[in-house]
């Protein structure tokens, strides 16, 4: 029990902070703790959560992917354009979008692994590339009128006395579970954490370092594409500017969730908590109305700083300081 506590201290802290924040917001704002608010919060932020799952896996292995927001924007506009302007069947368009996301991630992983380039630089270039391609497809926003699409977005569920559109939230929950299983109950997840802990040791132990790393970027690319897809369900339209700055939010979610940015330590549960914290802050600022939206950025940055400093302190407490 004691070791469990010590190992999971970052995640538990995050969970505690989330509960505190949520309690404070519920006490301060009427209806904050309503079913409707909580459900809409999950639905509206589903893309961020899905992307954060992919980011967590990449960061487990000590990498980083700055291209996720741009890939989401690209998939968003690609799928809507194919469906609306070229008459593609929606399922085919969505599958193509996911495949391109996977391919893009694989290509970046390949360059990072085989050519030994710094991940942030390659994915930064990937971000430019994907965003440019998105603008190239269309700079205008496209409304989705496809019937099948409308059926998808019209799925409703009754919770208490409110009706919600739960599809994005369902996908988010499915991806969180998938990420949890992949990250913590498969050999792949173990390999990721081992590589993040020490790539050299992982290599000496005979783990498939290259394949695992490339795989993590491929997964992250796919999840980013899925996040872009889900955003079309939420807004019912396609927009090539979608997802600007989303990569920063995703990284913030992962770090606030207690995952070490150097890799090798972390938990998907923490990512869920980080996601809830960012979401709570955003809805609280929306509820308040007197604070402008840019405070979200400042508070996110501040939280990021606080958590990273906390991580350093914990690391120093658990490890001997290097000479």
């Amino acid at each position: 029990m004691k070791t469990f506590l010590r190992q999971r201290l970052p995640q538990l802290t995050t969970a505690g902070i989330f509960l505190l924040l949520f309690a404070a917001a519920s006490w301060r704002y009427q209806y904050f703790c309503s079913t409707r608010n909580v459900a809409s919060f999950f639905t509206n932020n589903a893309s961020l959560g899905i992307i954060a799952v992919g980011m967590t896996l990449v960061i487990f292995a000590g990498g980083i992917d700055l291209s996720v927001g741009a890939v989401a924007g690209f998939t968003n506009i690609l799928v809507t354009t194919l469906v609306e302007s070229h008459g593609w069947p929606p399922v085919a368009a969505m599958l193509l979008g996911l495949a391109i996301g996977a391919l893009f991630g694989t290509a970046m992983g390949f360059i990072i692994q085989v050519f030994r380039q710094p991940p942030f630089l390659v994915t930064l270039a990937g971000m430019f590339f994907a965003r440019g391609c998105a603008y190239w497809i269309s700079t205008a926003s496209i409304e989705i009128k496809n019937l099948f699409y409308e059926h998808l977005t019209d799925i409703t569920a009754k919770m208490g006395d409110t009706t919600i559109h739960p599809l994005p939230a369902y996908i988010l929950i499915a991806m969180l579970i998938l990420g949890y299983v992949l990250g913590h109950h498969t050999r792949f997840g173990r390999n990721l954490l081992a590589i993040g802990g020490s790539e050299q040791s992982a290599l000496l132990m005979g783990l498939p370092v290259g394949a695992t790393k490339i795989c993590s970027y491929a997964l992250c690319g796919t999840l980013a594409a899925l996040g872009g897809l889900v955003s079309t369900f939420i807004t019912g339209s396609g927009n090539s500017t979608y997802g600007i700055g989303l990569e920063l939010d995703a990284i913030a979610v992962v770090v606030i969730g207690g995952t070490l940015l150097t890799g090798g330590r972390g938990h998907l549960f923490g990512t869920l908590c980080g996601f809830l914290i960012i979401g709570t802050i955003q809805s609280a600022i929306e509820f308040d109305g007197s604070l402008s939206s840019w405070w979200t950025r400042i508070i996110t940055g501040g939280l990021l700083l606080a958590f990273i400093l906390l991580q350093r302190l914990l690391l120093r407490a658990t490890q001997k300081r290097p000479a």
Binding site: F115, Q117, M127, C133, R297, L304
Partner: protein
């Protein structure tokens, strides 16, 4: 044995950007006959080349700070946000009727402060540079919006607007200022031990500390200088459009600056830097942008060729490619 001249061409990192510039010039001449033409109007020189230097000055000055940070083995992602903050500070202060010297001093001070905060996070708190500067990148744009209350602030002060739009000896003032800053920093770093200190820290921090270097202070200095450069860039950008927009000022500029440095031959792993290379890299980047206007690529799509270019440059610099190419010619590349 190769003479000094030969080894310059073989080893100087300036060769690649120069080759790229030459290539772009050829492409440009194909599309517009008077690419190199220099005419005079109203006593100022006018021409595409002048334009490149004028428009490129923001990227140039950012690349200077970025070069120093990268030489210490770090990276500064916050420069774009710092530009936005500085622009907002300057515009708001001018609007409130402060005098120009006070405004300039305050703006540069704010940039320096941002840099020092980054530097302390990296050197004292030992946070990875990407993450440490990411914090300010996220929060900075919010701070800029708080300062200017989310508004674009117009700048009506003519003396301030001279920085970005004025002319000196018939040439635009901004590139002259930036080139002077480059020369100054070059003299300071290369004619004293400071440059060597920065390179030593980037090459091997532990060894430098054992050799008696105050590594934390050197690192902090590099980030502080980068913040200062970002402040100058922010002032230039705000003065150029006579307006400070907290949302779009300096957007994506951090990427351009990193690209310029990498193209200029400063390795991202740190330990070496080349100011001339960065200068040429920034000019190359701006020439590429202008070339794309000429060729008819819309500005929204312009990032695509930039991204492809940077990846190609990185792949050419990578050890793996060199080994492959070395094998191709049956010659091993000496490390």
């Amino acid at each position: 044995m190769s003479g000094p001249r030969k080894s310059f061409w073989k080893n100087s990192p300036a060769v690649w950007p120069l080759a790229g510039l030459f290539l772009l010039a050829v492409v440009n001449l194909r599309y517009s006959k008077n690419f190199f033409s220099l005419t005079q109007s109203d006593g100022h020189y006018v021409g595409t080349v002048i334009d490149i230097f004028d428009r490129g000055s923001v990227c140039l000055v950012l690349a200077l700070g970025m070069t120093l940070v990268i030489a210490t083995g770090g990276i500064d992602l916050s420069v774009g946000s710092v530009m936005a903050i500085v622009g907002a500070v300057a515009a708001t202060m001018l609007q409130n009727g402060h005098s120009l010297p006070v405004v300039l001093a305050a703006s540069l001070g704010v940039g320096l402060l941002c840099g020092v905060v980054n530097g302390l996070l990296v050197s004292w708190a030992r946070i990875q540079p990407i993450v440490a500067t990411l914090i300010l990148m996220v929060a900075g744009r919010g701070i800029a919006q708080v300062i200017s209350d989310g508004q674009q602030v117009q700048i009506l002060d003519d003396h301030f607007n001279f920085i970005g739009n004025g002319f000196l000896w018939g040439f635009p003032f901004a590139p002259i200022l930036v080139t002077a800053i480059y020369a100054l920093v070059w003299f300071w770093l290369r004619r004293s031990a400071s440059g060597l200190f920065i390179e030593a820290v980037g090459d091997n921090e532990t060894a430098s500390r054992f050799a008696g270097l105050a590594t934390a202070r050197v690192k902090c200095l590099a980030y502080a200088l980068s913040g200062l450069c970002a402040a100058v860039a922010g002032l230039l950008a705000a003065s150029y459009i006579k307006d400070a927009d907290p949302l779009t000022a300096g957007q994506n500029m951090e990427l351009d600056a990193i690209f310029a440095v990498v193209i200029g031959g400063t390795a991202l792993s740190g330990g070496r830097f080349n100011l001339l290379g960065s200068y040429l890299g920034a000019i190359l980047l701006q020439t590429l942008t202008i070339t794309m206007y000429f060729v008819g690529v819309s500005s929204a799509v312009a990032p695509v060729p930039k991204a492809v270019l940077i990846i190609i440059v990185c792949l050419m610099q990578s050890e793996t490619t060199r080994r492959w190419l070395g094998g191709l010619w049956g010659k091993r590349v000496a490390s």
